[in-house]
Amino acid sequence: MPDSTLGDPHSGAAPLLQTIGLTKRYGDFLANDSIDIDIWPQQIHALLGENGAGKSTLVKAIYGLIQPTAGEMRWEGGKIVLSGPSQARALGIGMVFQHFSLFDNLTVGENVALGLDGKESLKDVSLRLAQVSSNYGLPLDPRREVWQLSVGERQRIEIVRALMQNPKFLILDEPTAVLTPQEADQLFIVLERLKSEGRAILYISHKLEEVKRLCDIATILRGGKKVATCNPREETAASLARMMVGSNIREVKAPAGRQTTIPRLVVNDLSLEPDDPHGVRLQHISLELKGGEILGVAGVAGNGQDELFAALSGERLAQDPGTIVIDGIAAGQLSITQRRQLGAAFVPEERLGHGTAPRMRLSENALLTGHAASGMVRRGFINIAATLLTVDRATASFDVRKAKRDPEAASLSGGNLQKFIVGREILRNPGVLVVSQPTWGVDAGAAAVIRQALLDLAAAGAAVLVTSQDLDELAEIADRIAVMFHGRLSAPLATADASREKLGLLMGGSSLGHKEGAHAAGA
């Protein structure tokens, strides 16, 4: 549906931006292998691929953040070599990153002024910011400090900051990962508007439905190579996924015989002050989780999920022992080691540096959480054979691919390391498993293995609490879904009853007419 004023983009002389054989090598690793991509004005171009497929590397090269090892880039037909992002911005390339670069203690206006190359006064910047933001329906108050804003509002700052430079070409890196479904819809309206103004957009995502709805053309990367360019509207989500992954994804099945028995994890009116000034205060969180059950906790990142994980695991202690009960024992004041001895297991969101010590071997990382309760330590001495056995068993049961028997944690790919971490915990046969973002940044094959393992563990009688921002994941494995917002946890909804709209409203802070803190019976 090309616009008549610009003519068919493909009939024009040259694309707005073109990469030819763009290659980026890190050591022995080819992050981008000879990639050709054409960006035309007035098109939303999707860049699809799994984590590690090379999407970020490609856009960093286009934005001048890294220098390609080989290949060339052309802007409106002429060859360019970018020495840095300011040069890219001068050409008319803007970028909105997945991880925001904002100073929490500065105001919106100050943050935007810092990011601009010009010499405008703060007052002029604020004025122009207000204009641009109201013009595009992205309301922002230049005087507010960033730490007070929601994630969606912070993203708005980044988008407005990019738009203030009037770019011809805007790159967005997974912009909807941090948004509620409703916020995402608003963003799409803005993107359509930018397209109609004749700008080009490169839209990075792995949410296929979104891409089908929004994008005119899609380039799919896999393992650093371009595998296809297609019209996403003519593809199905399944066919796009197949191109991304390179094979069919195993379907996850809930095993039969799942039983709901006695409560294994109970949280009673847990409130906790954050230990860092910009953290989230947990307020009156209550939940009850029975054996055989999986409870999903949805919510936009930064609404207290990290704080909840720290409180449940015992990395931070609750005020009152009775606020957290594991298998009938008041555990609120017990250390993480004591909670593990009660049969609880934990998988944090960050794999490297939190779930594992990156520069230590897998056997040592098995010891990290296994030393409390699995016969790896006798009278203070480490049983090295037992730690290696855990590595071998996790490798065998969870298909962990690695170069040698006992490598450093950091040398594994994200998916394989996550399989190892989940395997390490599940092999201990936990009665309660608290897992945060189990498949974040993990390839589709590993994600399926991990989700299946969680279902199997619940079927064996464990209580599983899964925090995730991926609503599809929760719909696939959870029995009930509750939503975190501003440190509060909504009453759980039965998964069958939890539509995206309802969850989206809860993620945005509406209460659906339920009373907050109300308990719902197990599904």
């Binding site: 695991s313 990395e315 993480i336 934990f346 939190h354 010590a357 990156p358 230590m360 959480t369």
Partner: protein
């Protein structure tokens, strides 16, 4: 063409072993240049420094005597450094240990109370060193004060305190006003291993410390705790390890070992308390710890090597009139090269030949 430093996917064990040797090689070349600038024949000077002491039985013994405090202190420091806390004040803990142990020797002087005196002195020395090291550790844990600064500053406090004692209350009345205590009684003296030599029991204690440290670090959960708190603090907390308690523990242990080394030095080779009992053992031990890769066996070897530089420096001063301070220059250069070479364990150099052509390997 461009030279870049890039991260390895996994630590190189080969480089980890070879890096101290490369560093020593670079240091020797640099020293040779330095000797040449001083107008000495580099080969002859290096020979006096590194070869001559090894050919003389007296010097060999002397190397072991000098290595004893270096190794003991460095083992303690390696616990701190592995746990990623920075005890720079081992020199002060060494002096305070010497003072505390000497107190008993001075008090029991001439009373002939029995053989418990020496063990009690050693215990006092270790305890005082530990307590003295706990001051910066507590300041760090309680108030967040940088342990690097506080531990270093306490070195000078200890130094002046010792000075005050030997010039004032503890001065030997028959000592012709020299700032020194009386010679310790035989029961307050560390026995020598071979009659007529200076090689003393402390060297055996140092070997036991090395063996115990090797077992602790490699085989026990406490050793694992030390390593993981240093390598990945957040993961350590997730593993259930308390970093604050570990800071106190590693400081206490390293202080105790430094204090023990201090009292052994005073009750052994020196035989009385006086200013200048340490030619900077506490600081040189930092180099020993890193040159030894923070590994007990490595530290033993590195301690012997650094002791060689002390002895070689003395001989070079006598034989070639090379200033004694050249030894300190040598040690400084060595630490510099060790740290530089260590970055090769996790990084490597790579030559990049930029070509704008499409790589032919692309398919």
């Amino acid at each position: 063409m461009q030279l870049v430093l890039e991260k390895r996917t996994e630590r190189s064990n080969t480089i980890a072993l070879v890096s101290p040797l490369i560093a020593i090689g670079f240091t020797i070349v640099t020293m040779g240049i330095l000797f040449a600038i001083l107008g000495k024949n580099p080969l002859a000077a290096l020979g006096v420094y590194f070869i001559d002491p090894l050919t003389d039985p007296y010097s060999l013994q002397e190397i072991a005597v000098k290595a004893t405090p270096l190794v003991m202190i460095a083992i303690g420091l390696s616990f701190c450094y592995l746990a990623n806390v920075w005890n720079i004040g081992a020199e002060g803990q060494f002096l305070i240990g010497a003072v505390a142990g000497s107190w008993l020797a001075v008090k029991t002087q001439g009373t002939d109370v029995g053989y418990w005196v020496l063990p009690a002195m050693l215990l006092l020395g270790a305890a005082a060193g530990a307590l003295y090291a706990l001051i910066p550790a507590l300041c760090r844990v309680r108030f967040g004060a940088s342990e690097i600064l506080t531990s270093l500053m306490l070195v000078y406090v200890a130094d002046l305190f010792l000075d005050y004692l030997v010039r004032g209350p503890w001065r030997d009345p028959k000592g012709f006003n020299f700032p020194t205590t009386a010679e310790f009684d035989p029961v307050a003296t560390v026995p020598v291993l071979i009659e007529g030599s200076r090689l003393h029991l402390g060297s055996i204690i140092a070997l036991i410390v090395v063996a115990a440290a090797a077992i602790l670090l490699g085989r026990t959960i406490k050793g694992f705790e030390i390593r993981v708190v240093g390598a990945a603090p957040r993961a350590a907390r997730f593993g259930g390890f308390n970093a604050d308690r570990l800071i106190l523990l590693t400081f206490a242990v390293s202080g105790a070992l430094a204090g023990l080394a201090g009292i052994i030095e005073v009750a052994g080779p020196i035989g009385h308390l006086q200013p200048g009992i340490s030619p900077g053992y506490g600081f040189t031990a930092i180099i020993v710890a890193f040159l030894g890769r923070l590994n007990p066996i490595g530290i033993l070897i590195a301690g012997l090597f650094l002791a060689l530089t002390f002895i070689g420096g003395e001989q070079a001063q006598i034989a070639m009139k090379i200033p004694l301070d050249v030894t300190k220059v040598f040690q400084g250069i060595l630490l510099f090269y060790v740290l530089a070479c260590d970055s090769m364990i996790t990084y490597r150099f790579r030559l990049i030949f930029p070509s704008r052509k499409v790589s032919s390997g692309a398919a």
